[in-house]
Structures are given as structure tokens and as C-alpha cells.
Symmetry: C2
Subunit: 327 residues, 2 copies
Amino acid sequence: GTSQIGGFGAIIDLQKSEYDKANQIVTGIDGVGTKIEIADAMDDYRGIGHDVVGMCVNDILCHCAAPVAFLDYFVCGKLNRRRATEVVKSISEACIQADCSLVGGETAEMPGVYGPNQWDLAGCAIGVRQPDWPQLPETSKIQVGDIVLGISSSGLHSNGFSLVRKILQAHKIDYKATVPWGNSSFGQVLLTPTKIYVRSLLLLMRGGLIKGAAHITGGGITENAIRVLDREAELALDIDASSWPKDELFNWLGSMGPVTTKEMLKTFNCGIGMTLVVSKESAQSVKDALKKCDEKVYEIGKVVRRTTDDLITYQNLENAFDLAKYY
Amino acid sequence: GTSQIGGFGAIIDLQKSEYDKANQIVTGIDGVGTKIEIADAMDDYRGIGHDVVGMCVNDILCHCAAPVAFLDYFVCGKLNRRRATEVVKSISEACIQADCSLVGGETAEMPGVYGPNQWDLAGCAIGVRQPDWPQLPETSKIQVGDIVLGISSSGLHSNGFSLVRKILQAHKIDYKATVPWGNSSFGQVLLTPTKIYVRSLLLLMRGGLIKGAAHITGGGITENAIRVLDREAELALDIDASSWPKDELFNWLGSMGPVTTKEMLKTFNCGIGMTLVVSKESAQSVKDALKKCDEKVYEIGKVVRRTTDDLITYQNLENAFDLAKYY
């Protein structure tokens, strides 16, 4: 349970929570980056709270920690009530999805430092671990033949927006323009809130079915998936870039952008919000369990013996995206 | 101990720390507000990290929590290496003073959202409590006759800067101008880093010598000191506004500003960074112990029976500041 006595700080009472044996705290802080610009352009702040919560809780989840508390930092030049209300509502909803409590926050009005319409959003998630939970990543258990699973993202999540902006600007496309593959606007598609994987993954992690998990954020699959590997072990991830279906957004970005497929995989999550390393034996159970949680999950690669300096290699890069589609 | 495995979140292992029985987490998030503007005007970022750490750890300290970890959020339009380095160095030094570890952070470069020279700084402190430590404020123990102690601040700390800016602007005074009471510039005086009270206060709190502590931030003594009181109890704080010496900065602000003494006490810490409620019997030991820690401490008031709606009353308001001095 949480309470606010006196109100100087938020108190999280582990004794009164289901994690009364917790002996480790796992914590992470993050912002939503330039996704803010698109929320402003669309004047739509109903998802941005999911983004800040998702960025933080998905990170700590990678260490098999149960999120217990979240705090937000909302800063602006002049308080816009509707915006602030939508943001806080979105944060609150996301905290429910992440099974954590919004225990505190700082709302700062800083005229002079911020312009009247300027604002920013960051947050900090606090999770706990019980002594008998696996300490992920279990680098020493990861071995050749292990399977890499990818759980689908809900679009860009909260990374890669500087490149997206460049691509839209280069083609003189407004955020309110309709996407060529549907009826939504680019802004609406880009603002899709970050998926929160806590409820799908935590129990599987606690049950020992997962050896390592990587939240795919800035740096894309290329820079994040490898973070479960021990650099000393001569292992690498071999990923089949054509093994999961791509949202049209990613095909479009790949088609329109002055960006190679390799750069796509190093910038965007490209449809995979979380990668998992699991044993060959557990792969099917993990896939089945995730599907029961309404996750889309794909076998996207395997752990191989590393023969070069690269911790990650790709197969079928040429078929990763449907690049001809939007030319 | 803290470690970063995999690097998605920071792990704080309570089992390996001196707080291996901790069963409560206390946390707070805060920014440094418009003090940033003065740091920019003076191009001096050597203290601003102390401010963000101080704002957060002094808050959680009020609940008798030992800070164990700190995370910062540093955001800018374009990374200025010297500024970023000075800020992080300042945060690190302050974390040492607060006996906590800088376990993580987010450095965000957000061109487009922030101007090239624009930046901001916030942070989150995480503290823990052992089961046998007093849960402050001990509102039910606070009674008529208890003493209110004030520990001196190091200037404005990180609040009240919007009003300070107004006062300086009204008198067309540059931050680089020399103060009338010394050789420093206004900017230097205003940038004095926030005092961190962890080492002076935590052991006294743990020892049961303090019934309540209030970190004096935005809202000044008036709005913060009362936060240790149970609103249902018919108690109030009666403060002698002339009972502690005032830094010349506060005399100057009171003299020059279009601001009454009441407003001064409701905006600035006015020289008191932390107020404590202690029993009559413990007052002397607490004062002695704080003096040994090189704190300046004053008996500034007492707990009285409340007879009006006001949770705080002041004596000697007319002598609180030397208002004639800078006319």
C-alpha cells in the first residue's frame, strides 16, 4: 500500500503490499522525448501519459521487478488545465495497467524558462524484487540455440520521433494528413500509446521461463536486444528481419525516408516492443502464455556463437520491409 | 549496494546495504524551478546539482527515510558539454553529501521542443525506512508546549526565484551587479546551493528525538512548517519571526520588494531551511547535536492550542526583517 503522510514524500509500505519480502529496488527515469511535439500538433494528450509510464515500467520489468510506484514531472511555462488534466488522466490509467500506484509528482510552472505553450513530461518508476525471483538477465544461462522472441509494439512507442519529423518535413506532410494505408491521420498513428508489458511478462519471468528481456527503445532492436548478452561470452543474436509482419507505418517510413533498413532497425522498434531470450524448450509455453494475454509474439531469431565483433546479425534484411509499397 | 546489470534499470540491493531490514520506500520527485535562469545568466552550473538533490532528499528525510538512490532527468535542446559536465559533477557531489548513490538518469536532447540553449533539470530520490525507525511526523505525539526549532538555510535554496526576478527587474538590477552588503554579485548569492540536512538530522530522527520535520520549500515557513500537524488536532505553531538572524539577502528582498513580511514568510524560507518539532525536554540535546554538525539552529516558536483557523501565527512580524536598511 501507499500513503502520503505529511506529504513531503510518498511512502510505499512493502509490509502491507504483496511484496513483503522484497529486498531489491529497481528504478528508472525517462521522458517522452520529441513525441511531445506531435501531441501538441494534434492537440491530443490522451496517450502521452501511457508513454511516460510505459517507457519507465517496461525498463524496470526487464530486471524482473514488479512496478509499485510511479512519480511524474510535468513542467510548463503556463499551466493549460485541459492539457494537464488529460496528461494526468493518461498517467493514472497507465499506472493501473502497470499495476503500480501514482504516488507523487511535481507540476512546475516555470514562466521565463519555458514558453507559454511549452511543456515537458518525465517520470520515474520504482519496482521491487523478491529474493526468490530470477535476476534478469540471467546472462550465464543464455546459450547457443536459445530462441529470441519478439512481442509486437503498438507503433513507435516513444522513440525515433526526430527522424520521423525529418521524414515528414522532407515530404512536406502535415501531421493531420491521412496516412496512405488507412483513414487515420499521421498524427493519430504516431501518437499510439506505448504498450505496457507488465501483466503479460512479469509472471512468466517470475516463473523462470525467460532468461533475458530487452525493452526496445532508442537504438532500436540492434542496440537494445543485445543488452541481455554477457559481452565476455562469445554469443550473438541472429535475427531474421523478415520474420514478423511490419505495421504499414514502418513500411512507409522505410519507403519514404532517406534511411536504410539497417538504420531503421537501429532507430525504431520496427514493430517489436520487447525481445525475450528463452530456452528452446520453453519457447512454445512462453508463446502460448503471451498469446493468452493478447500479445502478438514471433520467433525472430536465435542465440548463435559469435564469430565477428557484432553482437547482432540480421538475415533477410532485403525482405524486412515492403519498401516498394509507397514509392 | 547498487549495480547496473543489463542497464535497463538501476538495482538497489537492500540485502547488501546497511538497510537490510527496510520495509518501506519513501520517494519524491522535484525540479530546480526558475533558478535555472540565474545559473544561465551567470553561466555557472556548479551548484544546481546540489539544488535538485537537496530539494528531493530533504523532502524524503522529513519522513525519517535514509536516501539510498537518486536519478536525474537532464533535458536540453542541444547538449552543452561543459554545462552537462558541471551539472552531473554537482549532482554526484551532492549525492555523496546525502549518503545516496546516483544510480541512473536520463539525458535527453530534444531539438525542436527545447531551444538550442534551453535546458531543465529534475530528479527523483529514493529512500528506505527500517521497521524500528520512527514514522515522522508523529502527529499524535505533538502537543502544546513542544518547541519549534529552525535550522538555517543557505540562502533561497531552490524556491522563490520568480519573485526574486520580479524584484530585480523592477529595480533594473543585473544578476552580475554587486550586492550592497558585500563583494559578491547577486547571481553568486542567489546561486548558493541548497543545504542537504541528511547527515545532521537522520540519526537524531532515528533516535526518536524529533517528532516532526518540515522542509521549507515553495510556500515558505507559513505553508510548510504546519505540515507536521494533524489538522484534526486543535494545535497551531506560534512562531517568533524575529527569533533568528536574517541573511542580508532576505533583508534586502524585504526592503526592495513590493512584498509584505507576511508574503516574505509565505514565499521564501527566510533563512530557515528545515523546521523541527521537538519536546521541551529534547530541545537542548537536539540543538547541541545539530551544532556539533555545524548547523545553526534556533528556537523559533512553540506548539500552542489553536484558537482560530490559522495553523500558524507569528509574533514580532514588525521586527522580522531589517526593512529600513536598504531603502
